[in-house]
């Protein structure tokens, strides 16, 4: 179907559902241990009645409808219904705290809020009276809902029932409303978490979204028969791009895991053909392989090592675009047969044609790891403001320090100041209720990203970090701390790290150990500990972390090496505002919060005293009084 200015997501949905009917499966959800298919016909009916139900509840053109909850068919129905009734969809991250929910619901002028079940309803109830524009809260999972009688609560089934009644009175109403839409109208209002400021709401049109899917699939075509697993938050633009922009256009099957905890297992069962995830997902996969490796028997370890070395060798030939010598080709086939096929199957990657990573920088070690496995992993560069991505690697032209070439219809330029700017049909309409920010981001049709980068000799775009995050080392050279941080994260023992050193005499780091992996390591070494904090401060753990740092320091210029470090007494957490919801470090925030630690790292101190309160996820607080050791990194 050609994408014209007149085409909207609902119109496309209408056509697709009509042509596929009951013959094709639109989505699957694993429920009660069984994959249950939902055909396009049923998808259509669910959306139609929900959409009409919203109209009967008083939805008017352009009203905002917010959604919060895990990835599940009802979530997608709600979004599609919102669009079909000419509303605007606003997704919230499932783990948003009450303040964030309140800010977004209030700022976006949300009229209806879809929550999944009791947990989301509880959040909604606690903010309801502070958000005067909010009228109804709709839930779909009845578990635990028996004692709720607030009159602003209504179940999804009831809304659909209202929709059925409305249809009985006006049988062609749904089609009429869908026909009214225009591609330039606002479809989605997406809040960007931002590493530096309060969330901004980016307005995306139907055309923005559809053009995005079209252009991406011109590079890497998807097929109708493909399977896709939707398990990353719908509030993340990457997931929207795959589920809505691409999914609706090509009509592949979207699969929903049973529970968030079972996602990895369910991905394996489905074996998706396309995958798009932020680096942390791939980092987790790498980690799970590394941890299994540490646990395996000697023989298995040897097999893995040999196979992986062959894989690295072959991947390097490919990176250099050199032909693979027959001898290595044979070895590669052998290792594929004996080790890698199995390993890929365990990770759910055995059928993947295209795997993308984006949203944050991915370390070269992780990148090479997947290519050594034979997974076609590509970097992308994008942002919410271009409805997804603008730059991606092409097959056979992959360099792990770049993000590739712009997708069709997209122009990318570097300004004199080194800022990356983009022009494409997918560039957003502006920020909601924030003209200053819009003016700053959109100039003469160009989207200013605030990211720095350059185009290399092969025409690949290289993205530094956020402008503010690029360091100047003592020898005057620019340096990206993320580069070091991602290298450190390649170690299974390191969960997170925070590298400091802008305009300082030397580079330092605050490390967060991985509690599960280091805990297991400590058990084997018979080291006693009772908590994260205690474990992190053990001398042996410091030795372990130091070894990982030395590994990451290798082949770096002396001025960029980490000279001193400390282990933090807790993990960095989005709930404490230290990371964004997509797990990017908020540098200025942590610098202020851990000022004492930073000062100590840049003094001769061997200890830093901490006296603070930590808030647990369950709401408890406890005082922490402790001394953190500061260690000099040896050579």
């Amino acid at each position: 179907m050609e994408i014209t200015k007149d085409l909207t997501i609902p119109k496309l949905f209408y056509e697709k559902a009509r042509s596929y009917g009951d013959d094709r499966v639109a989505m699957r959800e694993k429920q009660f241990g069984i994959w249950r298919p939902i055909t396009w016909k049923r998808y259509f009916d669910e959306v139609k009645y929900l959409s009409l139900g919203l109209v009967s509840l008083g939805l008017e053109d352009g009203d905002k409808i917010a959604m919060i909850g895990d990835n599940r068919p009802e979530g997608l129905w709600a979004e599609m219904a919102a669009l079909c009734s000419r509303g605007v969809g606003v997704w919230l991250f499932q783990d948003c705290l009450i303040d964030e929910v309140k800010y977004i619901v209030d700022h976006s002028d949300t009229k209806f809020l879809f929550g999944e079940g009791q947990e989301e309803v509880d959040k909604a109830i606690s903010i309801f009276h502070e958000c005067p524009k909010l009228q109804k809260v709709i839930w779909d999972d009845p578990k635990g809902m028996r004692n709720y009688d607030q009159d602003f609560l209504i179940s999804l089934k009831e809304v659909q029932q209202r929709g059925r009644e409305l249809e009985a009175q006006q049988p062609d109403l749904f089609e009429k409303i869908v026909r009214k839409g225009h591609g330039d109208e606002v479809a989605l209002l997406f809040y960007t978490s931002g590493t530096t400021s309060a969330p901004k709401g980016a307005l995306l049109s139907h055309n923005n979204m559809l053009m995005m899917g079209k252009h991406l699939m011109e590079v890497d075509p998807c097929r109708e028969s493909d399977d896709y697993v939707s398990y990353l938050p719908f509030a993340w633009i990457g997931e929207q791009m795959m589920s809505i922009s691409c999914g609706l256009q090509i009509g592949y099957t979207i699969n929903f895991p049973e529970e968030p905890e079972t996602a990895q297992e369910n991905i394996r069962e489905i074996g998706p053909h396309v995958m798009f995830a932020p680096p942390r997902m791939y980092e987790q996969m790498t980690r799970s392989v590394q941890v299994k490796y540490l646990d395996a028997t000697w023989l298995k370890r040897k097999f893995y090592e040999i196979a992986h070395n062959i894989g690295y060798r072959v991947a390097d030939y490919r990176f250099k675009k050199k032909p693979i010598p027959p001898f290595w080709n044979l070895l590669h086939k052998l290792s594929l047969l004996t080790v890698q096929k199995k390993l890929k199957d365990h990770l759910g990657l055995s059928r993947v044609r295209h795997a993308y990573t984006g949203g944050a920088a991915m370390g070269p070690d992780h990148f090479r790891f997947f290519h050594a496995l034979g997974v076609n992993l590509k970097q992308i560069y994008g942002q919410t403001e271009v409805a997804g991505i603008s730059v991606v690697h092409r097959d056979g032209d992959i360099k792990f320090d770049t993000v590739g070439h712009p997708i069709p219809g997209t122009e990318v330029r570097i300004t004199d100041e080194g800022e990356i700017i983009t022009r494409s049909p997918s560039v957003f309409l502006g920020y909601y209720k924030n003209p200053e920010a819009t003016e700053k981001a959109l100039r003469d049709g160009w989207l200013h990203s605030d990211d720095k980068g350059f185009v290399d000799d092969d025409g690949h775009l290289v993205v530094f970090d956020r402008t503010k995050d690029v360091f100047t080392l003592r020898d005057g050279k620019p340096f990206s701390p993320q580069y070091l941080e991602t290298r450190l994260k390649f170690s299974p023992y390191i969960k997170d790290s925070w590298v400091i050193g802008d305009r300082r005499d030397y580079v330092t780091a605050v490390m967060c150990i991985d509690y599960a992996v280091v805990g297991k390591w400590a058990d084997e070494k018979k080291i006693n500990y009772t908590s994260y904090h205690e474990l992190s401060q053990q001398a042996e753990v410091y030795d372990l972390v130091e070894r990982q740092i030395r590994q990451a320091n290798k082949d770096l210029p002396e001025s960029a090496r980490i000279a001193r470090f400390t282990n933090l007494y807790k993990e960095l957490d989005p709930d404490d505002d230290e990371l964004t919801r997509t797990r990017k470090l908020r540098r200025s925030f942590v610098e202020k919060r851990y000022e004492d630690i930073v000062n100590a790292l840049y003094s001769d101190a061997e200890m830093v005293h901490i006296d603070t309160t930590i808030k647990y996820e369950d709401g408890r607080q406890s005082d922490i009084k402790t001394d953190l050791t500061i260690r000099q990194t040896g050579d």
């Binding site: 009660f32 241990g33 069984i34 578990k143 635990g144 028996r146 049973e258 529970e259 905890e261 079972t262 297992e265 996820e617 369950d618 408890r620």
Partner: protein, 273 residues
């Protein structure tokens, strides 16, 4: 001694009448009387060594009391073996989890379903027709009612022995529920759990007690006073074999004798703040 409120006979699910239990010279239960009504959560509290677990063991048949009567569903059950009581609709969990560590979560729960299987060994071996249908029905029940309720989808096929303690407790509860009991005896279901697990478990207990298709009467032995006072319809206080009181939670909290015997000791009254 405070008497329990007047109870209509038809409402009583379980009744203990002047139950005495002694081990050698140790008197563990001395003339205990207890009436549990259908649909309530009835808690038993008392200091360590008060005889709570002995009382539970008498109810489900692990011990035979030397004196007194135990009635379940208007039937005297003193002479019945534990498995016969299970058949009548009585299930329990244990203070220290008693699961089959080598079996998977699903198999552990299936085992609890055993009393409802009607087909014999031979037809089970052939696995045809009725047996197959029956097996599928039971699996559906387990998936839809138990695994979903207890949120253990992600560990369905894991061996229970490999799981953390909190999840093992959940599995044990799942196995007890598979019986579809009318009376569920929970012996310290919260002991050894962290705060989040306690909240989850309290929610599950409320769910099985209140959800339409469960409506299970619960007999709860527990030390966590915060949870006991929140969940229970009635609280029974036991002190070294004697009943001190049986009444509503708020009355129990204010009863001087109870406070003296039990609640007054601050560390015992420790609740998870």
């Amino acid at each position: 001694m405070v008497a329990a409120d007047e109870i209509k006979e038809g409402d009583v699910l379980l009744e203990l009448e002047d139950v005495h239990m002694t081990f050698g010279k140790v008197q563990a239960l001395i003339g205990v009387n207890l009436k549990i009504r259908k649909g309530e959560i009835h808690s038993v509290i008392g200091p360590n060594g008060a005889g709570k677990t002995v009382m539970m063991n008498c109810i489900n048949g692990l011990y035979q009391p030397q004196q007194g009567n135990i009635h379940f569903k208007n039937q005297r059950i003193n002479h019945l073996k534990p498995y016969e009581r299970a058949d009548l609709g009585m299930a329990r969990t244990f203070q220290k989890v008693e699961v089959f560590g080598g079996l998977t979560v699903l198999d552990n729960i299936r085992l609890g379903r055993h009393v409802h299987f009607r087909s014999g060994i031979l037809s089970g071996a052939a696995y045809l027709g009725k047996t197959k249908r029956e097996e599928i029905e039971h699996r559906t029940f387990i998936e839809e009612q138990i695994i979903d309720l207890l949120e253990i989808q992600h560990i369905r096929s894991k061996p229970v022995g490999m799981l953390p303690y909190g999840l093992q407790k959940r599995v044990e509860l799942g196995r007890a529920l598979a019986l579809e009991p009318e009376l569920l005896i929970l012996d310290e279901p919260l002991a050894g759990l962290n705060l989040e697990e306690v909240e989850d478990m309290a929610r599950f207990i409320l769910d099985v007690n209140q959800e339409m298709h469960w409506r299970v009467t619960c007999l709860l032995v527990e030390h966590d006073m915060g949870v006991v006072m929140d969940l229970s319809d009635r609280v029974f206080v036991l002190n070294f074999g004697y009943m001190i009181m049986d009444g509503k939670p708020e009355d129990v909290q204010n009863n001087p004798e109870v406070i003296k015997a039990y609640l007054g000791e601050e560390d015992l009254y420790a609740t998870r703040a």
